[in-house]
């Protein structure tokens, strides 16, 4: 079975705020759910499938389904792979729709790490790796720093090359009125920002923001009855990247497997991609992912990102035209949802005008959850215009 063309993204909504005081997390889930359904021309009473991840408060999908009043659900999925969850959810929703299990799937993400900061949940003491990692003080940034250092060692990648990724994202963010960091920065400014865990500087890191987003994935016959332009789901792939019993390789991501699966299902190649939303928890995440998806040879990502390839609208691979997690928004430390939303905007021709890719037909979305420094989960989507 293939999901190619058997499901459409009919609605997408990104919460406009980056700090949301005086709300509950469930409330923001509701706001983005209504936003995406309204965008699609549907309502909560049409929803028969609900997808959420670890940011959803309560008991898996059940508490939020109860809060939202999703009384007609016949399908639910709480796949939790960190920031890539929502990219995976689109693929899962498409598969469920293709199998006839549901017709209107709602996916939500929301959280308030700025307004209601809570200690990042410590690794469960029951996690089998806990005793062999936590005592040494790994943090999110430092684990990606380990990946960056090894990539530099093997391929000669430089901090200035990583900085070029942030620079490109900031060029895009200046056109986004909602971006947290809308000011363009230079390579020098990135390199002069404080080291958080070397070789990664503060400006190599994504923002921390409140917010959220939602998507509505529907069956073709539902999409046909809606007036809003939908986007076709063409292909989907997933893969964990594991520590291999102590043979961890820090130079690549699970996109080396999820990418080819998605391309094969969609029947396209990297050369066909007009726009890419690339997970950008850190600059190194983007660099490794671009290589792993085949946009350039392994180890040549540094050269690729410094020649203007990432710049919209005319670069070889315009990326993260909303400014991405590096500049715009990284709600709840989970960037997959906003990655899908910006790809939908590009395919609808509704990105911010200076960064809209002309005649954008094929978009790729890549998510990565967990940590490139230990174990992670990649998910790749290929989306296309209605006639793709």
């Amino acid at each position: 079975m293939t999901i190619r063309g058997k499901a459409h993204i009919a609605g997408a909504y990104e919460h406009p705020e980056r700090k949301i005081p005086d709300s509950s997390i469930a409330q923001v889930h509701a706001e983005v759910a209504i936003g995406a359904l309204t965008d699609a021309g549907l309502s909560l009473s049409d929803v028969d499938a609900y997808f959420c991840a670890g940011d959803a408060p309560g008991f898996g999908p059940v508490s939020m389904a109860d809060y939202l009043g999703l009384a007609r659900l016949r399908y639910a999925d709480s796949t939790e792979t960190g920031g890539s969850s929502y990219v995976a959810h689109v693929g899962h929703a498409a598969a469920a729709i293709a199998e006839g299990k549901c017709r209107v799937a709602l996916i939500t993400l929301a959280g308030l790490p700025r307004s209601q900061p809570t200690p990042r949940p410590a690794m469960s003491a029951q996690a089998p790796e806990a005793g062999f990692e936590q005592p040494f003080g790994p943090t999110t940034v430092s684990m990606y720093a380990l990946a960056a250092r090894r990539h530099m060692h093997e391929y000669g990648t430089t901090s200035a090359q990583l900085a070029a990724i942030k620079v490109a994202a900031s060029q895009h963010a200046q056109h986004n009125p909602h971006a947290m960091l809308p000011k363009p920065v230079t390579v020098e400014e990135v390199l002069e920002s404080p080291l958080i865990s070397d070789p990664l500087h503060r400006l190599d890191c994504c923002v921390v923001s409140d917010g959220g987003g939602a998507l509505v994935v529907v069956a073709p016959e539902v999409a046909a009855d809606l007036s809003r332009q939908a986007v076709k789901v063409l292909g989907h792939g997933e893969s964990p990247k594991l520590t291999a019993g102590g043979r961890i390789d820090l130079t690549y991501t699970g996109a080396v497997w999820s990418g080819p699966r998605a391309f094969a299902e969609a029947g396209v190649t990297p050369f066909d991609v007009d726009y890419a939303s690339i997970y950008d928890s850190f600059t190194i995440t983007v660099l490794q992912t671009i290589e792993d998806l085949g946009f350039c040879e392994k180890g040549k990502g540094g050269a690729f990102v410094t020649d203007g390839s990432l710049l919209a609208p005319h670069g070889r691979l315009p990326f993260n035209t909303d400014g991405g997690g590096l500049c715009n928004n990284h709600p709840v430390n989970r960037g997959g949802m906003t990655k899908v939303i910006e790809a939908v905007r590009q395919l609808r021709g509704e990105a911010n005008a200076p960064v809209q890719v002309p005649d954008c037909q094929i978009a790729l979305v890549n998510g990565n959850g967990g940590s490139l420094g230990t174990r992670s989960a990649a998910a790749t989507l290929i989306l296309g215009q209605e006639d793709a």
Binding site: P135, T139, D198, G245
Partner: protein, 140 residues
């Protein structure tokens, strides 16, 4: 030479019946990994199942405690037990026997470290039974 370990937190690890023997050995200054009795592979982190061949027949195996730095970073922003700690080195060390393990590099100036540098294990007391296997540059 005394270690600068006084400044570096040594939080106790989570333990369970599957890993008790590992941590007991650390108090004796011995570094163990698990060896698969069917495919002979040495694995990190230690576990009851071989992730290479799915065998449930694994045994403890003492390694030399020598290896080399696979990757490292100086973390300026410790969290949890390390919150407020001076900058410290998080690393993966590739043991001479093969497996790569997360650890800290100690007794070294971060500016003097490099990928591939030879290191040897030292153990730091958590005060709660287990000792943490950390590594320092190998002295010739």
């Amino acid at each position: 030479m005394t270690t600068p370990a006084a400044a570096l937190p040594a939080p106790a690890p989570a333990t369970n019946p599957e890993t008790t023997e590992f941590w007991t050995a650390t108090a004796d200054g011995r570094l163990l990994v698990k060896r698969c009795q069917d495919c002979d592979s040495l694995m990190w982190y230690p576990r009851a199942i071989c992730p290479a061949c799915s065998s449930l027949r694994t045994e403890w195996f003492e390694v030399s405690g020598r290896g080399s730095i696979y990757s490292y970073t100086v973390n300026y922003r410790g969290e949890g037990a390390y919150q407020g700690a001076p900058p410290f080195v998080l690393a993966y060390v590739e043991l001479d026997e093969g497996p790569r393990m997360m650890t800290n590099i100690v007794e070294a100036s971060p500016g003097d470290l490099s990928v591939g540098q030879p290191v040897e294990v030292v153990f730091h007391d958590t005060g709660q039974g287990p000792w943490l296997p950390r590594f320092r540059p190998l002295r010739h």
